[in-house]
């Protein structure tokens, strides 16, 4: 009899010992971002999550960007739901719009109420469609003007606050043998960003771009025209080096700035800091400021948007754990991890970045406005149109007229 008891006790002991070895819950993280510092950031956040939830583990699955949409859709069609999928913002032109239409995405409005930080409005706006937020941002970026402090000191100029300041600064720089803002309109996308920046000032409501992007507003409006006029004005008054439409961004504009031919550079963000660090001769210091305003009464605004974001599939399992993962990815310790890797959290933080330039960049995020046109035809036309403003063959009125013409060719 005693033997039986001992045996039973031993069995029980074994069973309790075996319990922790029970299979862990695996969450699959799908991402296309296996470049730069992202893998390191993901791993550190996952390690923190696994420490907090010993019964769960996260497995990263890298999927090439170009195959991502199809793979995700195919997996979902096969009845399998990756728990932590990186997703594209939802809007009618999005490659993931069909997922939204099929009702596969969970609205995160309720989840966001507890345990998440207060996100910058512009970051959430990018991820919200018709009142529902479908994904959570991990990091964001913003575009500002970088300037060469040494040159500014040499010509005795301070940071310009308005476009008019910028124009007189351009003249002072010219007198000192320098040029204004290296820009790189030949590559298209910088030209687009310049326009979005001016629009962030000409449209104080910050809502018109998104509406026009979705075909709910025509482009022939004073705000859209004004932004183009400002570019024309700056270019006519020598703010940009001559022939900016002939300068490429990475090979032209970056060189002009690091060779100290121009005193400023736009659009600049965290991705270009490395290039400047290696490109500048020793002893050159550079800082940033938001693009000067059209008029003094306005608040400064930079442009920016979400870099990485992830969602929840309605039919995915273990949604509570997934949300726990997202909450950990959005807490202050994770913010520290982001900042250590020169990334910007999408909410205000009280963390000191090691470098001043990054600290300033993080500050500029708070005033960031959306910088994107999702409809590819319209985005392409914005870029071409600004190039036309630079080459002098397009007027502000023609600039918006072309956008309206493009809009007519798009099926909504």
């Amino acid at each position: 009899m005693r033997k039986t008891w001992i045996l039973l006790a031993l069995l029980l002991l074994c069973a309790t010992l075996m319990l922790p070895a029970a299979p862990k819950t695996t969450l699959r993280l799908w991402s296309w971002n296996n470049e730069g510092d992202y893998p390191a950031v993901f791993e550190q956040i996952i390690a923190r999550f696994e420490t907090a939830n010993p019964n769960a583990e996260v497995e990263i699955q890298w999927v090439p960007y170009t195959e991502y949409n199809e793979k995700l859709k195919a997996t979902i069609a096969a009845g399998d739901y990756p728990e932590i999928p990186e997703i594209h913002p939802i809007h009618p032109g999005s490659p993931m719009y069909s997922l939204y239409q099929a009702g596969e995405l969970l609205s995160l409005n309720d989840a966001l109420k507890t345990g998440f930080p207060k996100y910058f409005p512009s970051a959430l706006a990018d991820l919200t469609f018709e009142g529902n937020t479908y994904s959570i941002p991990l990091d964001v970026n913003n575009l500002t003007v970088f300037y060469n402090k040494n040159i500014f000191k040499k010509v005795g100029q301070k940071i310009p606050e308005t476009v008019d300041d910028l124009i007189s600064l351009g003249k002072a720089l010219k007198a000192g043998g320098y040029m204004g803002i290296a820009h790189g309109a030949k590559d298209g996308w910088p030209a687009g960003d310049l326009y979005f920046q001016m629009l962030a000032y000409s449209d104080g409501s910050h809502t018109m771009l998104r509406k026009a992007d979705f075909g709910k507003l025509t482009w022939n409006r004073p705000e859209f025209i004004e932004a183009a006029l400002q570019i024309l004005k700056m270019n006519a008054n020598g703010v940009f080096p001559p022939g900016t439409a002939a300068v490429d961004y990475f090979t032209g504009a970056v060189q002009l700035f690091t060779q100290q031919k121009t005193a400023m550079f736009y659009p600049a963000g965290s991705w270009i800091v490395g290039g400047f660090d290696t490109g500048f001769p020793e002893g050159v210091e550079y800082g940033l400021f938001p693009f000067p305003r059209i008029s003094k009464v306005q608040d400064s605004a930079s442009t920016g948007g979400v870099a990485t974001n992830w969602g929840v599939l309605k039919k995915a399992k273990n949604q509570d754990l997934v949300l726990a993962f997202y909450r950990i990815a959005a807490d202050m310790k994770s913010a520290q991890i982001l900042i250590d890797h020169s990334m910007i959290p999408p909410y205000a933080v009280n963390i000191q970045a090691k470098r001043e330039i990054l600290a300033d960049m993080i500050k500029a995020q708070a005033i960031a406005q959306t910088r994107f046109v999702f409809t590819p035809e319209l985005h392409s036309q914005v870029m071409s149109g600004v190039q036309g403003l630079f080459t002098g063959e397009v007027s502000a009125a023609q600039f918006v007229a072309a956008l309206d013409r493009v809009e007519k060719t798009i099926k909504r």
């Binding site: 090439p64 990475f250 090979t251 060189q255 060779q259 031919k261 270009i272 490395g274």
Partner: protein, 275 residues
């Protein structure tokens, strides 16, 4: 010897010298760019004060040339091998056998030279997706084989036509099978045609860009032209490194060319010979 050119000697020399300057200057400039220090990138025109060979090492790792060369060699060699083999077979079939509809089929294949790849990229895109080959080596190797076929078949057919039937018949009497004749008798005879076709298709595929940019998306699959276009356009690329990258890209081609000049000129202009 009578003089054929309608211009005077002096004028000719001046014009030739001028054209030589135009032809060679970009090369010399890029070479000079490739060894400059960052400081001299904009200032020097041709002769930099200091020579910095470290740029080459830096460019090699920045553009990932090891991988680019490996991919280009792999894609070009495998497509060339298949093209040469099946177009030689076809050339033999078309020239030494009396086939019903042979002339029609030959001209059908030959008409392929008129089809610009850009006209079929979208159906090929659909095709590759359907076969699950999109974003893989075969997605470019297969089109490279096909676009090489028309000219190659033409060259082999013309060449094999001139091979005497006696040799082939003798082998046939000796009991050699048709494939044996092709492999053991014919292939050694048509080596010059093989060389021409190899150079023509290899250079075309080595330099190809349109299909590569559409079908290859993983950095690990990039061919040399694709890698150069993407990396120069997307990362901050100092000019001296671009210069070194260009020199590295063209050096092997130039080296081969100087060894095999005549074969190269014959091979590369082979595409123009269409009947």
């Amino acid at each position: 010897m009578p003089r054929r050119e309608p211009f005077s000697r002096n004028l000719i020399w001046i014009l030739i010298a001028l054209w030589l300057v135009v032809t060679l200057f970009p090369f010399l400039w890029v070479l000079s760019l490739s060894v400059r220090t960052p400081k001299e990138v904009f200032t020097a025109i041709l002769l930099p004060k200091t020579i910095r060979l470290a740029n080459y090492l830096e460019a090699w790792s920045k553009f990932g040339f090891t991988l680019l060369f490996r991919n280009s060699v792999l894609v070009s060699l495998s497509s060339v091998a298949v093209t040469v083999f099946i177009s030689a077979l076809a050339g033999y079939g078309f020239s030494k056998f009396r086939l019903k509809g042979g002339s029609f089929l030959f001209h059908l294949i030959l008409s392929g030279v008129m089809i610009p790849p850009v006209a079929v990229v979208i159906p090929l895109f659909v095709f590759m997706k359907r076969l699950g080959l999109f974003n893989s080596y075969p997605s470019v190797i297969i089109p490279y084989i096909v676009f090489g076929l028309p000219v190659s078949t033409f060259i082999f057919k013309s060449y094999i036509q001139n091979v005497s039937n006696d040799i082939l018949d003798a082998a046939r009497i000796d009991g050699c099978g048709e494939l044996g004749i092709f492999l053991r008798i014919l292939l050694p005879i048509i080596k010059p045609a093989v060389a021409t076709v190899t150079i023509f298709t290899f250079m075309t595929n080595w330099n190809e860009f349109l299909l590569a940019v559409i079908f290859l998306h993983d950095k690990g699959l990039y061919t040399l032209p694709l890698g150069m276009s993407v990396f120069v356009g997307q990362y901050s690329a100092p000019w001296q490194l671009i210069g070194a990258g260009v020199v590295i890209s063209i050096a092997p081609v130039l080296a081969l060319f100087f060894v095999l000049q005549n074969q190269f000129i014959r091979g590369l202009t082979a595409g123009a010979v269409r009947g």
